[in-house]
Amino acid sequence: MTGLADPNAMEVFSSRLLSITEDMGNALIRSSFSTNIKERKDCSVALFDAGGRLIAQASHIPLHLGSLLGSVTAVLARHRITDMQDGDAFVLNDPYLAGGTHMPDISIVTPVFIDGAVCAFAANVGHHSDVGGPVPGSISGQARSVFEEGLRLPVIRLVRGGELDEDLLALIAHNSRDPDERSLDLKVQVASNARGVTLLRELAGRIGLKAMTEAVDDLLAYTARRLRNRMREMADGEASFTAYLDDDGIGGDPVPIRSTVIVHGETLTVDFSGTAPEARGAFNVPESALRATVYYAVKTLLDPELLPNSGMFDCIDIRAPAGTLVSPRFPAAVGARSITCNKIARALFGAFAQLLPADRAMASSHDSVPAIIFSGPRRIGDGSFVYLETLGGGMGARSDADGMEAIHVHLTNTSNLPAEALENEYALLVDEYALVPGSGGAGRHRGGLGIARQIRAVRDGIVFSVRSDGHVLGSPGLAGGAPGGTARLLRNSGRPDQEELSSKTASIVLAAGETVRIETGGGGGFGDPAERDPAARKADLRSGKTCQVLTEKT
């Protein structure tokens, strides 16, 4: 009836698989050394079958959704499974050679041997805080090619039959500004997969390999069936939406990202024809990151509870013309892809909004990942610091609610560094941390407000860089809603020498007493502003979220 071999066993198996990935993820996060993996949880783990199909994933950030698929595909393209031996593990990161998403994301892929043959793969990816290159952190919006983005790793056998290649590990580690951290975290990544191998073997021992294979097939078939049901519920049709980056990282005009979503029966095609050619800077999106973005949008809009596995991925046809921003050619730089991915999400949400019922549509959010980076001497004594923070902004309004204020959207989600922690350790003071009044797009439901954060140097020689976007164009509203406020960046705000800076400012030096103020964008509004509930309008005015002038205009 259902076409599945054993639906009850499948559901139990699914819980057990998720439990294994959670166990691997906990081992990775608990044991890792770097703040990035341990505290920001910028990592993911997954299990694959011997054919390279993703069967379960514990993803801590959406930008990793399905991105390990590229890693396992690359390993299988490089080595036949019959050439692997029990206890091998592969290390890789390169977007062009090894299905990576950008250089700091290093994957470890481990074959799982059961009864003498490869039956599965355990894989994980962690964001390493530095993999070399000209700038600390290895990400610069101005990088012109992958050769400026740190160490490139094709598929390399790091562990051979249980024997870790210490020389190779040292080579990788010493191409980073923090070799100890690299070395420890890579060992932890290898160990997390080994944990997955043990648990998967236990499970196979318990239920038998045949039942396991059957459950994997059931799980993927079920997931595909479920997503195809969601597609069938949509009317056949085609819709496009174009989102823009302010520039290509180096400068110039706004850069279009066009997505066309085509629903026909039980098929879904996403076509990026009409998107700008690849960028001169590092805002290009390699295939794995593009896939993650599309999978994220489809899962969020069509079926949030859908399991992220190859059953889902295989239902979606992604077309990205070569040589564009979303399908760059070697050696285009890709380090700063996260801002572009959020803009791709905007283009997808905008296209889907035309095909889905109004209650599942939302106006555009700030759709950026503004990153501010300060470095310089510590507050007291010797030593230097590097402080990187990515900020939230306004979320787009929905058909039944205002957008949330000051929040990360779409593919990223990280916590803020408390002002109290920052001031204690670094030679910086937070002058202001606030919502930006009036930045939410007007509408029947208002867009969320952006964030203002103003930081003052208290010692000379503080170096500041930023990667931001949406300084030129605000987040579009929907169904008659107004766009959200644009982002901006000011040096010495309110002083006679106040100066507006570009959204991709690199390495300016601040003297003691100078400030940098970033205001992130607001979300777009939903519906005609004239229809806004007067009580909500009053509440906005009272709380200072809108200003009198703005309100009168609407």
Partner: protein
């Protein structure tokens, strides 16, 4: 409200406290008024989310400290019961009608969290770390449109409840599956106080799931239970691996109305071979309050190096908090010989952003602190870094007033082991004739082998074939599970 660094969490906690204050105030006034009306002259205590007791006056000032205090009381009771039963390492498994609460007790001490999200807002307050998942007896079993059998997360709750309760429900629940399999009494529950309609459960499972799937009702009912057990087990494994423990080193402490019914299956799924079912498992949370002490958490936040130069400041913080604690215990009318002070330092290696909690045994000494910090860091993260500087972030003092515990007492036990009745019960391998015992009839020291069902007013314990149980001196059921 929260003299602790990190401005957002501090602000959020203060705002939530202010938000619930007026409502708590009205509730307390009504509650205390009615107690007075009943002629009660004793000062009532309430339970704190850290598992300690506090006076009604403290609750008025800090209502946020009551968040999730009910489940915390159950964990305190479980820890105390487990300690007395020689099982200090437990995973608590409290399965009720709509949710299952899971937590970890290591060495007799519940695991604590310093913050959690409540209604999506961060609240920082020391609390027992209880994980909640949406799986319980009332979880609805349903067939999704792609052919998978799902259990929950929606629940039939108390109203309409399971189909068998005859309150108009049409969607079968986990409880309906258990009634259909005769694991629960198919005639009546609550010691005969509530009739159930087995035929209605069977019909609902047949109509909504078995027919469309082309399976027998037994296969579906077994599937519902197995799926629910797999979901619950996932939560249990997560609380242990998150903290770096191996679940196999722990006993499963099962309570709540649906805990003892699924405990053996959950233990098998998690590779745990010991289960403990306390007396009156359905009222463990309420009784846990009687096993709690009064306590107040105090905190002073100041980031400084843990070295000889700064140590006197740390000692001074603890002295000042102890003075505050003594004053609070005076207010709670705790006599001097019933007072205890637990000291914890939140600390981290220089350069880290998050702290580990270090319990100080005895006096506040730098050397013993450094050793304890390294050990705590190893437990939390799997390693320590000899030679790296340590930073103190917050000093915490818990002022405890020890409360006299009620002695457990039992009705006169009957030594003859006699089943109340026998019925067919469906286990994983099919129907088996199974003796049904009244728990009150099981004498201390008695050993039973599965299959068996042990009924009592507030819960049903299922003993599958291959498992055995012994009744300990306190009346707990200690189950050995065949894995």
């Amino acid at each position: 409200m929260l003299p602790e660094f990190r401005e957002f969490e501090r602000f959020s906690t203060t705002a939530i406290n202010a938000y619930i204050g007026p409502r708590m105030e009205r509730y307390l006034d009504r509650f205390l008024g009615r107690l007075a009306g009943l002629g009660l002259t004793v000062q009532p205590y309430t339970i704190h989310s850290n598992g300690g007791l506090m006076s009604a006056e403290s609750v008025r000032s800090f209502p946020v400290r009551c968040c999730l205090s009910g489940p915390a009381a159950g964990v305190v009771g479980a820890a105390a019961t487990g300690r007395d039963a020689g099982r200090p390492d437990l995973i608590t498994f409290d399965a009720g009608g709509t949710s299952t609460d899971v937590s970890l007790v290591a060495g007799g001490t519940p695991a604590f969290a310093s913050s959690r999200s409540i209604a999506d807002y961060p609240v920082r307050s020391p609390m027992i770390d209880v994980q909640v998942i949406g799986a319980g007896g009332g979880s609805i079993a349903w067939l999704d449109d792609a052919g998978a059998l799902k259990v929950g997360p929606r629940s039939a709750g108390a109203d309409p409840g399971p189909v068998a309760y005859g309150k108009g429900a049409t969607q079968p629940t986990l409880t309906d599956a258990n009634i259909m399999l005769h694991r629960l009494d198919p005639v009546s529950l609550l010691g005969g106080g509530m009739p159930v309609d087995e035929a209605a459960s069977r019909r609902a499972i047949a109509d909504t799931i078995a027919l469309p799937m082309g399976l027998s009702v037994e296969q579906v009912a077994l599937g519902i239970v197995r799926i629910a057990v797999a979901n619950m087990s996932r939560a249990i494994r997560a609380v242990s691996t998150e903290r770096g423990y191996d679940v196999r080193d722990f006993a499963l402490f099962a309570y709540g109305g649906a805990g003892p019914l699924h405990a053996a299956a959950v233990a098998i799924e998690c590779n745990m071979n010991r289960v403990l079912v306390p007396v009156e498992p359905g009222t463990m949370c309420a009784r846990g309050i009687l096993l709690s002490d009064v306590s107040l958490d105090l905190v002073r936040s100041e980031i400084m190096a843990a070295d000889e130069a700064h140590w006197p400041r740390i000692v001074a913080h603890f002295a000042a908090m102890q003075a505050d604690g003594e004053r609070w215990l005076d207010g709670e009318r705790v006599p001097a010989d019933r007072r205890r002070f637990d000291r914890v330092i939140d600390a981290r290696y220089q350069g880290q952003n998050h702290e580990v909690q270090v319990r100080l045994a005895g006096d506040v000494q730098l050397d013993s602190f450094a050793e304890a910090f390294a050990a705590a860091h190893r437990q939390e993260y799997g390693y320590d870094i000899p030679g790296r500087g340590i930073e103190v972030v917050s000093c915490r003092l818990k002022a405890v007033g020890l409360i006299d515990r009620p002695k457990a007492h039992f009705a006169e036990l009957n030594n003859a082991l006699r089943a109340r009745t026998v019925r067919q019960v469906c286990f994983d391998d099919g129907w088996v004739e199974t003796p049904i015992y009244d728990r009150a009839s099981l004498a201390i020291g008695i050993r039973l082998s599965g299959p068996a069902v042990i009924d009592e007013m507030s819960a049903t314990t299922l003993l599958p074939p291959g498992c055995s149980v012994i009744v300990d001196a306190a009346g707990n059921l200690l189950m050995d599970v065949a894995i």
